[in-house]
């Protein structure tokens, strides 16, 4: 171990050339434009490696009608509908209020057309954001979003188009609502993505039996929370098989609420771990997850959290009898 290595915080990672203070990433759509959770005493953006900002489109969007959120067994449905003030306002008015000394800020780009993805990405390229996440997996809008993300050809076209207009690290957020996520990932790597976020929410529905009405204003929404963790772990494992040979890192996400959850995602192949819905349970959860990972590294004699990535031992499946 070099002297430099030994001084490094065991939780710090390099993600696409960015220094993350910890492997935790606050997920887009959960933390507004980066300042909202700082209302909570004891919360700090410094506790995470990066903060993904709210999904941003070319023009302002009002989003969906209420209800937009609803708790389901061990999870929640949401259908916000990409409410945002439009990229110009985000770049001109919101980004200047963020403290880039505290953490890395990642823009989240969405759109109804490839042209819109390009325009928004271009605008963020000429801004202080540290990286750009392409959201081709939002399940709650009529056009774009998951309609692009579930089609590997369209996914690749969006990624290639955005790649043309930015040198910043490009993270593609993949949808679990598709047949072959690994194939989609392979195509996105060819198209020039630098990293993946795996997974976005799963499409779901809630019904009020008494009124016989759909609970969510948009009728369907995206399911998040602990209920989706096993699915997310498998998807991360599958994408890792494709991404590892190319050195393309993964932010693993979906139902992380504890240090153990975060460790499982790292072991499955993630380099960083997203925290979203768990913030709604406990806004101070990241401090606890960081400490839990630290304790684990000590207990297992590991010098760096990066050593865990993809350290999974698989069984050899065989039929019994």
């Amino acid at each position: 171990m070099t002297a430099e290595h030994s001084r490094r915080d065991p939780l710090a990672i390099d993600f696409c050339g960015m220094d993350f203070a910890t492997p935790l990433v606050l997920l887009s759509g959960c933390v507004g434009f980066g300042e909202e959770y700082t209302r909570v005493a004891g919360f700090s953006n410094r506790d995470v490696g990066a903060v993904c900002l709210k999904g941003t489109t070319g023009q302002a969007r009002l989003g969906n009608l209420p209800h937009r959120v609803y708790e389901t067994p061990m999870g929640m449905l949401n259908a916000i509908g990409l409410q945002n003030p439009g990229v110009d306002k985000v770049v001109d008015e919101i980004l200047p209020t963020l403290d880039f000394d505290e953490t890395r800020f990642i823009a989240n780009v969405s759109g109804s057309t490839i042209e819109e993805y390009i325009a928004v990405t271009r605008r963020f390229d000429d801004s202080p954001v540290d990286a750009i996440e392409i959201n081709i997996s939002c399940p709650n809008v009529k056009e774009g979003g998951v309609a692009f993300g579930n089609d590997p050809d369209m996914s690749a076209r969006v990624v290639a188009a955005c790649r043309q207009v930015t040198q910043k690290p490009l993270i593609t957020k993949l949808s679990p609502n598709q047949t072959d996520i690994a194939e989609n990932a392979r195509r996105c790597i060819e198209a020039g993505t630098d990293a993946f976020a795996v997974i976005n929410t799963l499409m779901g529905m809630a019904i009020d039996a008494e009124s016989r009405e759909a609970v969510i204003g948009n009728n369907q929404g995206g399911l998040s929370g602990p209920a989706i963790k096993p699915i997310a772990l498998l998807k991360v494992h599958q994408v890792y098989q494709v991404a590892r040979p190319h050195g393309v890192p993964i932010i693993g996400q979906g139902g992380v609420t504890s240090p153990s959850d975060a460790l499982e995602f790292l072991i499955a192949g993630a380099s960083a771990v997203g925290v979203g819905t768990a913030l709604f349970y406990d806004p101070l959860i990241c401090k606890k997850i960081n400490q839990g990972i630290r304790d684990y590294l000590d207990r297992h004699g590991l010098a760096s959290v990066g050593q865990l990535t993809g350290s999974l031992t698989l069984n050899t499946p065989r039929a019994c009898g």
Partner: protein, 289 residues
């Protein structure tokens, strides 16, 4: 960079000090949450973890606080799984309380005749507001509360005279009576001493007895079910009285991060979706109705 919003909401492990059940699945719960108690203002709410098995929090408006003793009191109705689980929490147990949250009511000193309208589980913020107004000699609050199920307190005849009240409408909330705050009750259920009708019906009768000049000194504050608030907004518009309403909506983060709890609001720039948690819960009635 000065960021005044930072560190204004506290997460506290709050011990249940009292938890009393009333008719109609209503509950009054007092918890030890000193930081929330110190900073809460009328209209503030807190986001509570009802039960560890149901991890999403539920927003409850604050009814009373005692900053010196460090407690916060809520009145809620068990309407769903979360509040039903909350109702089973026992004395001495600990509940994670996140608060205070939201923009409070803002009474304007040039309108000292404050009319507070609370319906059902909309009663708590009106009690909190009344407790704040009574300590300021400028204001002469009148509280009108309505409920279709028995009130979560034992109404008693008021000795505070309220000119303009129909004969026989004498029932009040004992707590407000003890504070010296004028209060009357309404119900469609025929409870003794209560006005037969909605809070807005009694409010209208009272407003009609006021001179034009007196009406210009009235400001309305309301919390309750959506149809009641819509009626309050209509009443206020008709009498040209400013009106602040406290809204509720399904909520996830309660800190402005998820945009889950929005309501449509009219602005000079057209319609906008505002977050109940941090842009509200108190809104100018004419912007939402």
């Amino acid at each position: 960079m000065h960021k005044p919003h930072r560190g204004t909401i506290y997460v506290e492990d709050a011990k249940v000090l009292a938890h009393e059940a009333f008719a109609g699945e209503q509950y009054i719960m007092r918890v030890q949450a000193p930081r929330c108690a110190e900073k809460a203002q009328p209209g503030s709410f807190a986001h509570l973890q009802c039960d560890p098995m149901l991890p999403m929090r539920r927003p409850l408006s604050i009814m009373r606080t005692d900053p010196r003793a460090g407690w916060v009191e809520f009145l809620y109705k068990a309407v769903g799984e979360g509040t039903r689980l909350l109702s089973r929490r026992k004395l001495g147990e600990t509940i994670s309380v996140m608060g205070p949250i939201g923009k409070p009511f803002q009474p304007h000193g040039d309108r000292p005749l404050t009319l507070l309208l609370g319906g059902g589980v909309g009663i708590p913020p009106m009690v909190f507001l009344a407790s704040s107004l009574r300590s300021n000699p400028v204001y002469q609050p009148l509280v009108i509360m309505g409920s279709e199920v028995p009130f979560p307190f034992k109404p008693r005849p008021s000795e505070i005279l309220v000119p303009g009240m129909p004969e026989g409408v004498i029932a009040t909330m004992p707590l407000l009576e003890d504070w010296g705050v004028a209060c009357r009750l309404t119900s469609g259920a025929g409870f003794p001493g209560c006005h037969e009708g909605y809070v807005t019906d009694l409010a209208r009768l009272w407003l009609d007895t006021l001179s034009e000049e007196k009406r210009r000194q009235v400001e309305i504050f309301a919390c309750g079910p959506h149809p009641m608030l819509a009626a309050c907004a209509r009443l206020a518009e008709q009498y040209r009285i400013p009106c602040q309403v406290s809204l509720e909506e399904f909520m996830a983060c309660a800190v402005g991060g998820c945009a889950g709890c929005v309501v449509e609001v009219k602005t000079d720039q057209g319609p906008a979706m505002k977050r109940v948690c941090v842009d509200g819960p108190v809104f100018d009635a004419k912007t939402v109705f």
